[in-house]
């Protein structure tokens, strides 16, 4: 029993350290715009957008293992809806962002219904294709989107406002993921990620669960897209459907740990911080070094940081190794 008490103490200490770190992080984020340069505030704002998109990706791909390469579809839908609304009616900027998010969620229902019929790599590529189709629609539907000319937005939202909106979006993403992780819904999503056929046999309506996660996940890039549009004060097909952001978002979530609550946050911040440092110190070869780092992570840490920490803790907790696995006699 003594060991159990000691273990309980260790866990309690770790939890307290975690809460303390979180409190410090929130305090820093809250006061940062009053001290930091616009450059740094802008850098944090961008990081918030990426982190929240990593959370969105995590909700659909981390939990259900339906790996999406097309979350930027909703980024673009959010950005364009907002830009179109604002260019025709003078909507206050937060309302326009929410309207873009709602539109993306509504469109995610039929899109998800169609796309989730695909599995594995077909789903991933299908989503990639969806983003490209939407970018082409944005280019061609000139009467509404003004095509390649793009739409200018009035400089209504200040950087500081956008910064706090981005921070709030990250907070919402963390809380939603935390709640999903503990919920019945989260367990259903995980079971789909583990074995969809078995999940269905255990009474999980896999179609509905996947669709729900798809729609929920669409709202985060949509909102990020809206905030991004305000930051640029301009939107065109290339900026609304930025292909490179997709990969970056996915790497952040994987870096931290797909399917975990804190993975996208930690992965996102580490990823952008490392990228920034490499850029500042090794301007000429920073992309090369960054690429090498990504390779190293994917090769040696494919499950990400959080599962690695968790596993180390498990090993310490259980001195007796796991029961030997006997292979199936086929």
């Amino acid at each position: 029993m003594a060991t159990r008490d000691a273990r309980g103490d260790r866990v309690a200490v770790r939890i307290r350290i975690g809460w303390a770190a979180l409190a410090v992080g929130i305090a820093v984020v809250a006061v940062l715009p009053f001290f930091a340069s616009d450059y740094l505030v802008g850098f944090f704002f961008t990081t918030f957008l990426f982190v929240s998109m990593a959370y969105g990706w995590n909700l659909v791909s981390g939990f259900t293992a339906y790996v999406s390469f097309g979350q930027m579809s909703f980024f673009g839908i959010g950005a364009y809806t907002l830009a179109i609304l604002v260019s025709r009616n003078a909507w206050p900027w937060p309302i326009a962002v929410l309207a873009g998010t709602a539109t993306a969620a509504v469109l995610a229902v039929p899109l998800g219904w169609a796309m989730l019929r695909l599995r594995g790599p077909y789903f991933a590529l299908g989503m990639l294709g969806l983003t490209q189709v939407l970018a082409m629609v944005a280019s061609a539907w000139i009467s509404v989107t003004r095509g390649g000319e793009g739409i200018y937005l009035p400089p209504e939202a200040t950087l500081r406002q956008l910064y706090y909106a981005g921070a709030a979006l990250v907070a919402v993403a963390v809380v939603v993921t935390w709640a999903v992780d503990r919920s019945a819904f989260g367990l259903r999503l995980r079971s789909i990620g583990e074995d969809e056929l078995a999940a269905e046999a255990m009474g999980v309506d896999t179609t509905m669960a996947k669709l729900a996660s798809f729609v929920l996940a669409s709202t985060f890039p949509a909102m990020a897209g809206g905030l991004y549009a305000w930051r640029l004060s301009y939107i065109d097909p290339a900026s609304a459907f930025p292909a490179g952001y997709e990969v970056q978002t996915i790497l952040m979530a994987i870096f931290g740990g797909a399917g975990t609550v804190w993975g996208p946050l930690i992965g996102g911040f580490l990823f952008t911080a490392v990228g920034e440092v490499l850029w500042a110190k090794f301007a000429e070869v920073h992309l090369l070094l960054f690429g090498v780092m990504i390779l190293i992570v994917l090769l040696f840490l494919p499950e990400g940081i959080i599962p690695l920490l968790r596993r180390r803790r498990m090993r310490r907790r259980a001195p007796v190794g796991p029961a030997p696995i006997r292979e199936e006699a086929a």
């Binding site: 503990r182 919920s183 019945a184 989260g186 367990l187 259903r188 995980r190 079971s191 990620g193 583990e194 074995d195 056929l197 078995a198 999940a199 269905e200 046999a201 255990m202 009474g203 999980v204 309506d205 896999t206 796991p322 029961a323 030997p324 696995i325 006997r326 292979e327 199936e328 006699a329």
Partner: protein, 248 residues
């Protein structure tokens, strides 16, 4: 007369002209253990896939408590009361033993906590409680098979389809599984056990036996009677043994 719990009515399933099942009929009464025996390829797993709705039959009808369940997806039949285990075990490898069972319990309760409480009781019943926090991938084959049964029990089914739960187990593990199946019967859960080889288990647990061979029903009846049936002996051991069996 009330309708049987489960009725398979003249069911056929063709795969590209291959007759996996051909006009098979039988009924399962509440609380009864029915064994479906037959050599590899006889159609046992196909039959289970038809009953759960994972596949649609080419012809025929399947009734549960008197109503046709054709066209229902597996999650619906699972919630109606048809649990199943898989021949190639497929517990959720990355979930803990507890979460594996809690997931199935969610078919009956709505909160995660209530599902976990229910799962804890079922783990006690099935002897898996010591492994509750272990990821399922770390369990032995026997325990993974047992976990599959536990998961199916968590659905609170009226009937469980057990696909080869005995195969590949040591004699001791087979005995433990037999005890488990008897426990289910004591709980009022009917079982349909697909069994290829483990004949002593068939004798010990079955109230009724259906023999399949090449997708057709070969014989049906109480276990002792069916096992002596010349056609059955022939299907299993070859005709010379059938001759010997007849001579006594």
């Amino acid at each position: 007369m009330t309708a049987p719990l489960l009725e398979v009515r003249d069911v056929s399933k063709y795969f590209e002209g291959l007759r996996a099942l051909d006009g098979v009929s039988f009924t399962v009464e509440p609380g009864v253990i029915l064994s479906i025996i037959g050599p590899n390829g006889a159609g046992k797993t196909t039959l289970f896939n038809l009953i759960t709705g994972a596949l649609a039959p080419t012809r025929g009808d399947i009734l549960f408590e008197g109503r046709s369940i054709l066209g229902l997806r597996p999650s619906r039949t699972a919630r109606l009361g048809i649990g199943r285990t898989f021949q190639i075990v497929r517990p959720f490898p990355g979930l803990t033993t507890l979460d594996n069972v809690a997931l199935a319990a969610l078919a009956k309760v709505s909160t995660r906590r209530a599902a976990e409480r229910r799962a804890e009781r079922i783990l006690e019943l099935t002897g898996l409680a010591p492994f509750a926090q272990l990821e399922a991938r770390n369990l032995t084959l026997a325990k993974r098979k047992r976990l599959e049964v536990a998961r199916a029990v968590a659905l609170e089914p009226k009937v469980i389809l057990l696909d080869e739960v005995m195969a590949g187990l040591t004699p001791t593990e087979v005995d433990e599984t037999i005890e488990l199946v008897k426990k289910l019967r004591a709980m009022g859960i009917a079982a349909v056990a697909g069994i290829e080889h483990v004949m002593q288990a068939v004798k010990k647990i079955s109230d009724h036996v259906v023999v399949l061979n090449f997708g057709k029903k070969l014989a049906e009846g109480p276990p002792s009677e069916v096992m002596r049936h010349p056609e059955v002996v022939k299907a299993y051991l070859g005709s010379q043994y059938a001759e010997a069996a007849r001579k006594g």
